[in-house]
Symmetry: C2
DNA sequence: CGACTATTTGAGGCGTATCAAGAAGTGTGG
DNA sequence: CCACACTTCTTGATACGCCTCAAATAGTCG
């Protein structure tokens, strides 16, 4: 049984028993796979959240994607992972051995087609992110981030962000301080509220105005 | 017969007669397909060069890719093109109707697999570009651009760039002036030369030093 | 409680954008 | 072929958005 998601960057396929999936759990901060390692598995998030990123030799980091519940990550065309993937909170994933998936894909055109859809959806997200990174200012970036997370986490306007400000900054091509300042400014101008005792819990008060900013 | 390219962002499949490809020519500046239009064809560059870009309502533009000889573009998962594609010089393309390609793909797992490889290669390029746009400074961006174009155009260190400085700027998330200044500085410091009577003809003198900059 | 990390906020600096002007290159009509 | 208009490219002066550095506050975990 293959399930399709309406979330443009959510998985197109659900990893099924026929792929011989196993389960694995990672604590917050643990690495799931490393940049350059042999890519011999793909993953689906069951619970938790994951960041996929590249780093330059001097430590600059670009997070290319956050993987949330039901998202699939780790698909590679080449031999090695081009990213490091780390759990950003305690996370459980399904693991499918790549060899098995590829074997099934040679037999089943539908599986290959679903992989294609998944890759294309990831590509669409990357292309939108290129516009964001190359041409948007810091306010537009942070507003777009909040709306993306709202859409992907719940759609209710109440966000429990799993990632730090640093993660957000490295996703948006900004510094921590700039992210913090933009959030503060959105709060001051009445577009959102922080939870009393948790800075990562954010309530979007005026999503329409945030949307106009992007 | 399917051909594979060693160029990571070159096409994996060659559009073949079995897809009922036809040929079309576009003059410099002409639109091949528009953002939002119904995506009913995919293209392979035979001669010339193409830019694919998105624009914001206020005119800011992000070029997501340059398509050179043998590159395939215009593949979409959804109904509509997410880009505008324009010829940046006089260009001839092969055109395959999407319906036909998709029909063949349902029958031939190899075709679907090749589309997957193509999408994955495009994705890899987009992910590298995210690092460039989000975390590199203007010198690193321009150096990376020159090396990419050298690799894709010839590999000889002698570049006949088809695109304007503005196109380069919109590809790198910079302004025309900054691109021009970086190129001038590379020239002053002996890393490259401009042709006598054509500013788009560039000879890379010290590619090793350019590589160290990226 | 104490050590540590995450976040916010302020002051000041830097890198790239903006604005402006001139030079170089291109295309068109005479 | 030149004259002219137009676009592209370069270069300089200045502005400003975001980064850097610093320090205080808030939150987390032993």
């Amino acid at each position: 049984m293959l399930s399709r998601s309406t979330n443009p960057i959510a998985p197109v396929i659900t990893i099924h028993a026929k792929f011989g999936a196993s389960e694995a759990t990672f604590l917050s901060g643990q690495e799931i796979h490393g940049q350059g390692e042999r890519a011999d598995a793909i993953y689906e998030v069951q619970r938790g959240a994951v960041r996929s990123y590249k780093t330059l030799s001097d430590g600059r980091r670009q997070i290319c994607a956050f993987h949330l519940q039901d998202d699939i990550f780790g698909w590679e065309n080449g031999l090695n992972y081009r990213f490091t993937a780390e759990a950003i909170v305690d996370t459980t994933v399904l693991v499918v051995r790549r060899q098995i998936l590829e074997y099934v894909a040679t037999k089943d055109v539908q599986v290959t087609h679903d992989l294609l859809s998944m890759a294309t959806n990831t590509l669409e997200h990357a292309e939108d992110q290129m516009m964001l990174l190359g041409r948007k200012n810091s306010g537009e970036k942070v507003a777009a981030f909040l709306l993306e997370m709202d859409r992907r986490l719940s759609g209710t306007g109440v966000l429990a962000l799993p990632m730090t400000r640093r993660d957000i900054a490295d996703y948006l091509g900004l510094t921590v301080e700039t992210v913090s300042r933009e959030l503060s400014q959105f709060r001051t101008s009445g577009m959102l509220m922080f939870s009393e005792n948790n800075q990562r819990r954010i309530v979007l008060i005026d999503r329409q105005r945030l949307r106009r900013l992007t």
